[in-house]
Assembly symmetry: C2
C-alpha cells in the first residue's frame, strides 16, 4: 500500500501550483520580493499539502553547498567531547546545518579515512580534534576544497587554521599555585601520554614552569607521570611510586583530564586511600561526578559548550568570508573549589 506519490519534487509542486520550477525555487530560496503574494501563498499551500521537502543532494550538487559540517573528534564517548559537540550543534541548527560526527579514536589512519569520507560528502566545514597525523590531507581539504577547518582542543603549529582552545598553561599554573598556597609540598602530575597532543604538552610543561617559579629545584619536578591507560598495571605502579615516595609530606595529585582522574580515584579507593586525608586531589575538566566523589573534587572547568559554539561560529564566518586572518581563540578556565584539596 503506497502512500501518496513516492517522492515529491520541486516539479510536482510547480505543476500543482500552476507555476514553473524556477518560481518554486525562488520561493525556496527565500527570494520573496521576486514573487507575487498570490504565488507565494499558493506555493506555500501546495508544499504543505504535498509535504514537500527539498532534496539537499540536488541542491548541493548545483550550489556546491551540502549544509553538512563534519565533526571529527577523538572520542564521542568522552563527556568533554559531547559538551563541545552540543555547543556546535546548537549553532548549526540555528543556521540550517547538520553535524556529521566521526570518531578517530586517536588513530591517524581512522582519521584519514574519515576525512576522505567527509570530503566525499562535500562538507561545508570541519571541526576537528585532530590526531595530528594528517596535516597533508587537511591542507588539501582546505586549499583545494576551500573547506573551512577549525581545530578544537588540539592545535597543530604547522597548520594555518583557526583554533579554539583553552589557556592550558594558565590553567595548570593556577592549579599549582592553588595547591602550593594550600601548603602541599609534593604535587604529582598524572597525564595520559603527552606524545604530540598540544594540550597535554602545554599542561605538562606548564606544570614544570609553575613549580620552578616557586623553587627552581622543587622536588615535584620529578613527580610527573605519563600513563597509558590501556596498560592495566601502569597506573597502579606509577601511582604507588608517587605515593610511597611522598608518604611523609603533605601531597596532592593533579589529574590531566577527567578520564585519568576517575581511574586514579578508583585506584586510590581500592587501596584504601582517602581524599583528601591521604592525598589532596585536583582534576582538569569538571565532570558531572566531581561533586559526588569523596567530599567533592576540586576541578578546573573548561567552557566546553562555549568552545563548541565558537568553533561553529568561526566556520560560519569563514563560509561568509574566507579572507580574514587566521585566529586562535583561547579561553580561560575556572577553578571550582570543592573539598578535595583543603590544605594541610
Amino acid at each position: 500500500m503506497r502512500g501518496k506519490e513516492a517522492k515529491v519534487t520541486i516539479y510536482d509542486v510547480a505543476k500543482k501550483a500552476g507555476v514553473s520550477k524556477s518560481t518554486v525555487s525562488r520561493y525556496l530560496g527565500g527570494r520573496f520580493h521576486e514573487l507575487s503574494p498570490k504565488t507565494q501563498q499558493k506555493i506555500k499551500q501546495v508544499i504543505d499539502e504535498l509535504q514537500y521537502r527539498p532534496n539537499n543532494l540536488a541542491r548541493g550538487l548545483k550550489s556546491s553547498r551540502s549544509y553538512l559540517i563534519g565533526a571529527l573528534v577523538a572520542d564521542i564517548t568522552n563527556p568533554y567531547t559531547t559538551a563541545i559537540l552540543r555547543g556546535a550543534e546548537d549553532v548549526c541548527k540555528q543556521h540550517g546545518y547538520s553535524l556529521l560526527i566521526c570518531n578517530s579514536d586517536n588513530q591517524p589512519a581512522k582519521e584519514r579515512e574519515y576525512i576522505s569520507m567527509l570530503q566525499s560528502h562535500k562538507i561545508d566545514g570541519l571541526l576537528i580534534q585532530t590526531t595530528g597525523g594528517n596535516s597533508d590531507f587537511l591542507e588539501t581539504l582546505s586549499e583545494n576544497g576551500k573547506t573551512p577547518i577549525v581545530l578544537v582542543d588540539r592545535k597543530i603549529p604547522e597548520l594555518p587554521f583557526d583554533t579554539v582552545e583553552i589557556d592550558n598553561r594558565g590553567a595548570v599554573m593556577q592549579a599549582v599555585s592553588y595547591l602550593i598556597k594550600k601548603n602541599y609540598k609534593r604535587i604529582g602530575y598524572f597525564t595520559e601520554p603527552v606524545a604530540h597532543f598540544s594540550p597535554r604538552h602545554e599542561r605538562y610543561t606548564g606544570f614544570q614552569e609553575a613549580l620552578r617559579l616557586v623553587n627552581p629545584s622543587h622536588p615535584s619536578l620529578e613527580d610527573l607521570f605519563e600513563v597509558d591507560l590501556n596498560d592495566e598495571s601502569q597506573l597502579e605502579k606509577k601511582l604507588n611510586t608517587f605515593l610511597s615516595r611522598t608518604s611523609k609530606e603533605p601531597r596532592a595529585i593533579i589529574a590531566g583530564n577527567s578520564v585519568i582522574a576517575l581511574k586514579i580515584i578508583i585506584k586510590l579507593k581500592e587501596q584504601g586511600y582517602k581524599i583528601p586525608d591521604d592525598t589532596g586531589f585536583l582534576s582538569f575538566d569538571n565532570p558531572e561526578w566531581a561533586a559526588a566523589v569523596f567530599s567533592g573534587i576540586t576541578t578546573i572547568e573548561q567552557p566546553t559548550y562555549q568552545i563548541g559554539k565558537t568553533v561553529m561560529e568561526l566556520i560560519l564566518k569563514r563560509l561568509a568570508d574566507n579572507e580574514s586572518p587566521v585566529q586562535t581563540i583561547s579561553y580561560q578556565t575556572r577553578l571550582i573549589e570543592r573539598e578535595s584539596a583543603p590544605g594541610r
Copy 2:
C-alpha cells in the same frame, strides 16, 4: 595561491586516464570484472595522483542513496546515548555510512524539525530515540520515503518499526528481588517523569509488579517518586519524604537512570547521609563513575554498545530487503554487584 585543480571530478579522471566517464564509474562501483586489468590499474593510478574523491551529492542524486544515516537522540550529552552511538558508528563505518547526529532534547517540536532536515538530506535510514510526539511524521518518512526506521530505547506501540530495547520489566524485577533478598524492607523508586516514555513506564510498573509478587500490599507500593530534575527543589523534597517515612526500617533506593542517580547521590551527600549505611542504593545504567562513588554503586548494566550495533544492523538489513516482518529485539541486563546495597 590555488592548489591543483579546484575540484576534480570523474571527468578529470577519465580524461587523464584516457577513458570515458562510464569506465571510471564502473571502476568506482566496484564492477571490476567489466574492466580490463590494464584499465583498472590506470584508473587507480590517476585517482591517487589526482586525489580524486567521488562526490556523494551527485552520486546520491542519481542513485538515491546518500550514505547518510540519521541518529536522532534525546541528549548526546548522556553517556548512555553516546555508548549506543558508538556502536552504531562502528557498523556504519564498516559499511561506508556516516552518522548525522541530532538532539531532540526530548522536545517533539525540535524532533520534528530535525526529521524534516534529515529528510532533506535523504538519509538512508534513521535511528531514533523518540519523544513520541511525531508518529505521523515518522510514518510518512517510512512509507513515502521508504526509509528504514529503527526505534532505540523507547518504543511506540502504534508504529510498526523495528525496535531495540532492553527488558525493562525484567531488569527492575531483578533489582527488586535482589534488594528484598538483602532484607531491605522499604524500597524507594525514583524516576524522571514517566509520561509516555516506554522504558520509564515499564520500569515504573515493573517495580510495582515485583513488589506485589512479594506482598500484594507491600508498603513500598507508595514509595514511587517521579521527579522533574529541572525543578531544583523537587528532588530534595521527595527524597526527604521517602527518607523520613522510612527512617526506622532497612531501606534502599532504586534510581531509574544514571542521571537521576547522580543527583540523588549528591543530595544525599549534602545532607550527610551515607550509602549504604543510611540507605541502600541501586542504579539503572552503569555509568563510569559507579565504582568511584562511596564504596561502589551496584548497577543494572545495559549492553549499550551492542544495542547501537544492532540498530544499525537492522537498518542495513532493511536497506537490503525491506520485506521482512517488523521485529523487536530486547536485551537482557546484568546486575553488577558493588557495595551500595549489601543488605541489613
